[in-house]
Subunit: 389 residues, 2 copies
Amino acid sequence: MSSIEELQEKVATLESELQRHKNAGGRGKIEKMSAEVVDSNPYSRLMALQRMGIVTEYERIRGKSVAVVGVGGVGSVTADMLTRCGIGKLILFDYDKVELANMNRLFYTPDQAGLSKVEAAARTLSFINPDVEILTNNYNITLVEHFDQFMSTISTGGIDGKSPVDLVLSCVDNFEARMAINTACNELNLNWYESGVSENAVSGHIQLIKPGETACFACAPPLIVAENIDEKTLKRDGVCAASLPTTMGIVAGLLVQNALKYLLGFGEVSDYLGYSALNDFFPKITLRPNKTCEDRFCIQRQKEFELKPKPEAPVVEEASNEPLHEDNEFGIEIINESVEEKGAPQSQGQGLRYAYESGDAHSEPSAPPEPSGADDVSLEELMAQMKKI
Amino acid sequence: MSSIEELQEKVATLESELQRHKNAGGRGKIEKMSAEVVDSNPYSRLMALQRMGIVTEYERIRGKSVAVVGVGGVGSVTADMLTRCGIGKLILFDYDKVELANMNRLFYTPDQAGLSKVEAAARTLSFINPDVEILTNNYNITLVEHFDQFMSTISTGGIDGKSPVDLVLSCVDNFEARMAINTACNELNLNWYESGVSENAVSGHIQLIKPGETACFACAPPLIVAENIDEKTLKRDGVCAASLPTTMGIVAGLLVQNALKYLLGFGEVSDYLGYSALNDFFPKITLRPNKTCEDRFCIQRQKEFELKPKPEAPVVEEASNEPLHEDNEFGIEIINESVEEKGAPQSQGQGLRYAYESGDAHSEPSAPPEPSGADDVSLEELMAQMKKI
């Protein structure tokens, strides 16, 4: 039998080792972002964006609040990136649990299996960056009893706890949840980014929805969700959607990159950006709202937007109520992205914008010729294209 | 003073709590990848790629070995993605330590500050997926005393420990390391992907180098490294390059996605794919090797490639030794990517390939018209474009 002294020594050793495991190297909070170039400064590489002329006053990010709805394959990486960028406040929504079946995507680790996703995410994120305020909401926003709670959370989720969040990022995997976010954001007049990855794991997209200004999710559902699928429905049949950490990481990266551009005001914020992994194809378009959209708040926002003075922007062509094409059941029009851009040439016409044309690499006075038919892309062609990629 | 019984009880409690912290939920090895759709199967979403018709025999990935040189902002995420995809073997190279200044990028956590990057990465990766064999190399490959070690490690790093690795992924941040990889891969005749992110954090690229077939890193250095910078040089001057988790995550995603396509034979593998974050522009090109490249093994591989029969591929236009343009000091030619593609139309001419044209969305018999000058892009124009994005 050991002596009391030996046992006391062992207790002390174990307690100290355990303490190391529990506290393992987490850092304290940092009062102000510093640009100082020392190994111990987690913000030096971000503050360098100012010296490089990319962002003015990077520290404004601490005043921003973002809601991430769905913290699975895309949402968890989205939250991770925003946390490492030092966002002021993150509000997470999900009601799922971490499973080993999620380990083929980034972020979660096997020891978190069984934990709620929001709880597991919040723990990891707070450990990575304790400066970020993280709030978790562990419920299904599509259920009647939680929808109002979701609405009130995002409408008072700003950094001050009174104003709305600065942006909502949708990273959900099903139609109902997207429609719930759409309904809420149309009513609250909040801008949000929709994102998605196809069930075959090799394509994805992000889409900025500005109520009244760009097509809402109800304006054009088939185009957007054509390849999305509800995991729960599938699993009942003993099958599951494919997923890849690559596609989900890329979609999260494009989503957060555009969110940063939107929040901090640099670069061009993309409205719709697609990604097709099989051929590295990245289509960019802008969808105008549907004048016959069934969401009454979308219609109201469209009227408000029409009345709003457009400083410096060119006159947006008045669209008729009639669909552009015979079979255009949603009455969607495609407008040129450059309409929203300061100083962009107005002669590009309507239609799909070519990635190549969009590069500022083209500084020659003569614009590249428009491909035939670019200003006359039918909705059917576009939908067929989107389904294929 | 506590009794011996009380102390013994305390020791037992502490030991068990410590054990939980140490082992926390890591999973055991899995003998064979299963497609079974259960929450406990970490491979179900990857095996689903087979049912979706994307990949045949996904499990072949267990027979693949990949070297990742540099496990910083791009390399660590690259290794994470490959690990979660269940790659057979990963060989990591780096000689740096984790710092808090790295926390603005994905993967590393604050408790790892001070550990060597390869050691920290290997611990996390083995915990995420114990099925992956992970080897670490903690040295600088550019030093004379380590270069041979690097050569022999990648030339015998295959899954069988005798043949070479299946692919080398360069995720380094400086010119010398890229040149070292280039020299080794030209001599060993190994295909590799170069990757990089600009010092202003808002652009990046990946480039597949097949010795003798596409331009090697010595064939066209200024085009590739124009915006890259050595962190160590900068830090001496009290400045640092900017970096973002978004750009680095996207570049890692594009790199691993193309590595998966290359290793498992699906989709089209991109030769050079750029990414400009400010305008979501993704240029795709193929660079032909420089006939006057200073790397003698590159010249040798070019001769071997010329003699190799090209099954089904169209005759590659014989390029003269003379530069195409007066000031083309590197004698680089740009060839059309479609040369390497089965069944791609041959009428597209040379030059930059438009992302829009590359979509299989275009099934119409009439190809879109070529923009003027597309088959006559000068190297100077191209370099100017690459520098701008």
